[in-house]
């Protein structure tokens, strides 16, 4: 059970991703623009971010930046432009997934990343 921010500029894609992640037991907040996502990251705490790369108003880089500024939370970029996203370099997301993404795979990956980051946080405590 974790709090996840899901970003994609296409509303139906966001709806579907949210449904899948919710079904896996997470609390999911949807966002359809980079600016809205950054505001949400500042307003409340999240354990992970799943974002598209090409968003209507900016690229996913600003979202990755905003997320990593807050904490070491895992960030997954899901995009048709993975090569472009990968070349954009610093700060790096934890994982890049090329669309189309298998829903089960997405859930497994997010859960694994969450486990790793929780263990790291516990060790720090």
């Amino acid at each position: 059970m974790a709090r996840i921010l899901c970003v994609d500029d296409e509303p139906h894609v966001v709806t579907l991703k949210c449904a899948i992640l919710q079904q896996a037991g997470h609390t999911v907040t949807a966002s359809t623009s980079a600016r809205d996502a950054i505001e949400k990251l500042q307003a409340s705490a999240f354990d992970a971010v799943v974002t598209d790369w090409r968003l209507g108003d900016a690229d996913g880089r600003v979202v990755v930046e905003a997320a990593k500024r807050h904490s070491a939370m895992p960030v997954v970029v899901v995009s048709g432009y993975v090569a472009e996203a990968f070349q954009a370099a610093e700060p790096l997301a934890d994982l890049y997934l090329e669309k189309p993404v298998n829903p089960e795979e997405l859930v497994t990956i997010v859960n694994e990343l969450l486990k790793t980051s929780q263990r790291a946080a516990q060790r720090q405590d």
Partner: protein, 479 residues
């Protein structure tokens, strides 16, 4: 010195020769009482007459001097024989020396002229361009090796050809039609015109390969400004043209790559939606019928978008290959406006101005042409979300029908202007990047031209120009 005309100038020179000769005779007559008869003193007069007047006045001067001498010889000798001989001897070296000097400087001048000619012909020979010098009758009189090689004739054969025969031999054309005699570069240069870098296509024997060339010509003028010939320079640009074509091909390949990447991305998005939706259906078997319907609708929509992508790509690939028939551009514009009515009817503050004049038919595919105008009108409307003026215009020009679609929107950013005709290039979030590239492909396939002008903040105008059908081809009415 300038003289009014040639015959008058000649007459003056002959008269001058007579005058100089009689002056010399007067000098000889003047010294005769003191030193005796000295005809050698007449020689400078002959030399001067020849120098300024040429052979004719020179010969006339000899005749005058001989007549004068005959008269003076009749005067009896009034000085002692020794005095006369001595003076005669003294004058001889002076006159001989001055004659020698004249002859020597003549030869030097000749050598200089010869050297200059050698320099000039070396220069001509070293030029990669074919250079031909024509006489006023249009016959080549001087040609370099490049010209000989270019024509595929021997130098002797080439010098025998007339302009018309040479033009026929080389099958000289502009891009698509033969050049008739009065419009040949040589003919125009001989009329006094200057021809600068005009494109021509030559197909000389024996292989008749097309040679793309750039031709320049200018007239050669004599001292009085009269035309004494024409200089024609032909530069073979076949290789450069081929190179440019190869660069264009490479660019096209890049564009196709970009287009393929774009299609792959759009398609992956569609598949992603379907994949997620199926996932949702799988993991939530307990979903209500209503919820399932929503997800199924998403799958339907994704499939529809996938089909649209394929349709647009097919349109682009097919663009401009449809059956051609006489088409009324004005009617196509009216139909395109009608088709796009839902897009502009409800935009507040958007005025539509129609300047549709009667035009002659063009040979085109009606569906394709309608799509071109529809695309342009949609672009124009999308450029003015806050309203503005959409102008749709057509008019008849000589040989062509021109149409334009203008907006008063934001204009195309300079960095985008170079790319707007590339397939799959778009600046719009929901754009496919195929509208303008399809339009361009269609217009080019109909031997037309499409171009645009855009001012940031002022708006954009797209022009389409299509060749009008000749009156004898055009039907009285278009079906």
């Amino acid at each position: 010195m300038q003289f009014a005309s040639k015959p008058r100038r000649k007459l003056v020179l002959y008269l001058a020769a007579v005058v100089v000769s009689w002056l010399a005779i007067a000098v000889v007559a003047g010294v005769q009482p003191y030193v005796g008869f000295l005809p050698i003193l007449l020689l400078p007069a002959v030399a001067v007459a020849e120098h300024y007047g040429g052979l004719g006045p020179g010969v006339l001067s000899i005749m005058m001097c001989t007549v004068g001498s005959l008269l003076l010889m009749r005067v009896p000798l009034s000085v002692p024989e020794e005095v006369h001989s001595l003076t005669n001897l003294a004058v001889f070296p002076a006159v001989a020396a001055s004659l020698l000097w004249v002859m020597h400087s003549r030869r030097q001048q000749q050598q200089l002229g010869e050297e200059r000619r050698v320099e000039l012909s070396t220069l001509l020979e070293s030029m990669p361009e074919a250079v031909l010098i024509f006489d006023p009758s249009g016959r080549p009189v001087e040609v370099n090796s490049a010209a000989v090689a270019f024509t595929g004739l021997t130098r002797e054969e080439l010098l025998e050809y007339s302009t018309a025969r040479l033009a026929r031999h080389l099958a000289v054309q502009t891009e698509d039609q033969p050049v008739d005699f009065p419009n040949l570069a040589v003919t125009r240069a001989l009329r006094g015109e200057v021809v600068r870098n005009e494109s021509r296509v030559f197909s000389p024997p024996p292989d008749h390969n097309r040679i793309q060339a750039v031709v320049s010509a200018s007239s050669l003028r004599g001292r009085q400004g009269e035309i004494i010939g024409a200089l024609v320079v032909v530069r073979d640009v076949t290789e450069i043209t081929q190179l440019q074509q190869r660069v264009a091909d490479t660019e096209r390949h890049l564009a196709i790559g970009q287009m393929a990447a774009g299609i792959a991305h759009d398609f992956n998005n569609v598949l992603d939606t379907i994949s997620q939706a199926v996932g949702v259906l799988e993991i939530r078997p307990e979903q209500s019928v209503e919820d399932r319907k929503v997800v199924l609708r998403m799958i339907h929509n994704a499939v529809r978008r996938g089909t649209e992508i394929i349709t647009r790509v097919q349109e682009y690939i097919r663009g401009g290959t449809g059956q051609q028939a006489p088409v009324d551009v004005r009617q196509m514009l009216e139909e395109a406006l009608e088709l796009t009515r839902p897009l502009w009817r409800n935009v507040p503050g958007l005025a539509v101005v129609q300047e549709l004049r009667p035009v002659s038919p063009v040979l085109a595919n009606a569906a394709d042409l309608r799509r071109v105008f529809t695309n342009l009108i949609i672009n124009a409307i999308q450029a003015m979300p806050q309203g503005g003026q959409l102008t749709v215009h057509c008019e008849q020009n000589t040989g062509t029908v021109a149409a334009w679609v203008g907006d008063t929107g934001a204009g195309i950013p300079p960095e985008a202007q170079k790319k707007i005709f590339l397939p799959y290039y778009t600046t719009k979030p929901a754009g496919t990047g195929l509208g303008l590239s399809t339009a361009q492909k269609i217009v080019l396939s109909q031997r037309g031209k499409i171009r645009f002008s855009s001012e940031p903040g002022q708006g954009t105008t797209f022009w389409v120009e299509l060749p009008a059908m000749a009156p004898e081809q055009a039907p009285a009415r278009i079906a």
